[in-house]
Amino acid sequence: MKYKGTLPTLSTRGAASRIDPALFGPGLALLGMFVVYSLSSPHFLTTQNITNVLVQSSPLLILATGQTFALLMGGLDLSQGSIMSLVSVVTATVMLNYGIAPAAIVGIGSGILVGVLNGVLIGRARIQPFIVTLGMLYMIAGAALVISGGSTVFGLPRPDVDIFFWFGGGFIGPLPVPVLIAALLLGVAYLVLTRTPIGRHVYAIGGNEQVAIMSGIDVGRTKIFIYAVSGTFAAISGFMLSGRVISGQPLLGSGDLLLQSIGAVIIGGTSIFGGSGGVLRTLLGVLVIAFMVNGLNLLAISTFTQQVIVGAIIILSAWANALRRSR
């Protein structure tokens, strides 16, 4: 009988975690950037600059962490940007009359609700994720404009607005609050994906949905969970970013944040076909984008050129992953 590999020497240990080989590519890219930027700009490797980059990339990290769930199951979530806009205007509108606590609950809750709705349409009505979230992208973007009347919601009351800003730009000692929130959510996502049955079900569905069904996994419920997570993370990200600009912005998430979040997951090395990847890869993907852009700014390279470079990196990293898998 022939089989691949050497003869088995079964170890009862071997449980020690190995480093994910997919982390080497983006990790190396990040390291290279640090070396080049440090040598070419005196402003790069400073506490001030690094802190700034981390604070600015926190909303993206949260967004991309949620997006990772959707890509892992072989889907994607196009409605994340619209959810941010919705959460922004709902939070601000409620805060005008009722203060920060009800505003946070209703605002973030509205985003979670959209995520759950996505999940029900995908998991129970069995409509393609692309179509559901594309439709939701428009509906929710429209809803945000309707609620705010199309204009920014200003004039938030004190002291609520100070607490609101604290979430997006405050500090605990030397540590920026948004970075702490992003790190906490990343940790939770990591634990859920690696340590809970439903997290492993996400991978199983992405790897082979038919196998998942035949293994007795409640695929519909798992999909609702996935899009609820993606929606929740988008909502928190939207809440944080609104706090940073202390207003309700109906167009908060209509820029390229959504595409950056998908791009970051791909740069990190999570397969768009699902089944392999993870949030640690996404963390690296976000850092690559964030520091790349920051360094190019410091080197006074125009934002137009930056776009070209970010796009090329997305393609290159997908190519690198394809090569790694074909080996």
């Binding site: 634990l191 340590r195 049955p197 069904i213």
Partner: protein, 513 residues
Amino acid sequence: MSASSDPLAEHAGQVREILSVAGLRKTFPGVIALGGVDFDVRRGEVHALLGANGAGKSTLIKVIAGLYRPDVGEIYIDGELVDFATTTDAMQSGVSVIYQDSALVPQLSIAENIFLGSEKRGALGLVDWAATHAAARQLCDRIGALFPTTTLVSELGPGQRQLVEIAKALRSEAKLLILDEPTASLSHSESERLFQLVRELAAAGVGIVYVSHRLDEIAPLVDRVTVLRDGLSAGTFPANALDRARIVSLITGQERHSVRIARSPSTKAAGALLEVRGLSRAGEYEDVSFVVRSGEVVVLTGLVGAGRTELLETIFGVRTADRGEIKIDGKPVSFRNAREAIAGGVALIPEDRRGQGISITMSIFENIALPILSRFVGSFGLRKRLQIAHAETMIRLINIRTPGPRVAAGALSGGNQQKVVLAKWLSTDSRVLLFDEPTQGVDVGAKDEIYGLIDQLAAEGRAILVVSSDLEEVLAIADRVLAMRAGIIVGEFIGQAISASRILDAITHGSER
């Protein structure tokens, strides 16, 4: 190959054999699919290719069609040595294969399907629709396919689709036409129409290879018969020199009539764990009733399309019966999905291993743990170490050959992949185990190990229902055999009465009802 020319004149001065293969050998990791086969087809003859499952028929066809390359051996078309790198090469040499599952694009029209890949072009390189439909019309008329050529293939029945496939083969000017189980999904009248067409094509000089399990339909149609057994040719004979009994004995091989030693009778007396009464589902199976007792291995055998897989999937809850009743341990159950079935103590080891059994991108331990993940949850969530330890136990227990439990399941050989699927389901402690073609694509050594496992599982008091088309396998493992044909159970054989010829007779004729 134009219909108007005289075939005999056309053949003058040419070699008689349209196809001739010599010493063809093809091995896959752990399996010798073809062990040096000689085979030839003459111009204008219908040549039947027979053999049990795994005898090497499909491999032989795929080598001739350019899908596989042989390890050793030569293929001659029209007396010329050929070496097909792709199926396109084979088609250009005049080889057309009509496979069991349709190779048509349902969303395209009949005419588009016929000319797919060699579209008729007009001015500016655009598709010339008038010429396409006119040519398609001509081809369809020739084979008596009367529907408009603009009809979408999705609107056609299986018989009509087969006609379109034949029109496609005619378009590519096939000299050699291979039909793989062509009547498996056809009605009686559709089959008759096909036979007539096959005769006409042969009369026009096309060489035809006809692969079939249905011995009764072959007799009036074919000129010669070649039987494959275990990757070797058991001989080529004129059709009129063979009778049914002789064909059956050639297919099964005499040495396989050994009767297996029945398990100790004490286990037989045990109660019915799985009971099925009057189960029906339109178009798939009809009024099926049987019981499987604790400690018993029951094999459900029949041809492809007899409704066996559908029956298993119904018991497992992924299909719903129109009528009838399923009882587990005497209690009526109606599982709505696999989750409920697993909770009810039923496991299905599916036929389509890569499609339904394991996820090839996931590691071995992840695959094994998938249905029972909640067992590995500690106070800090899922514990990988427990999953790996469990996988290592299973690897040792059922002898999965792998460097370790972290290896991707897709990297293993077919037999070892199947063992991973087994490990996965044995972990669920199900009392009713449903196996669908458990050793398909599995090498001989692993086969015996899997049989041993099935025996052992039965000895532990589980009820085991196996779907198998492999006669040798049926004889090796069955305590009782249920023969199924066209959705109906047509025979039941117990102990000494289990024999290859009786089973083959029942599943091809259905005369024992």
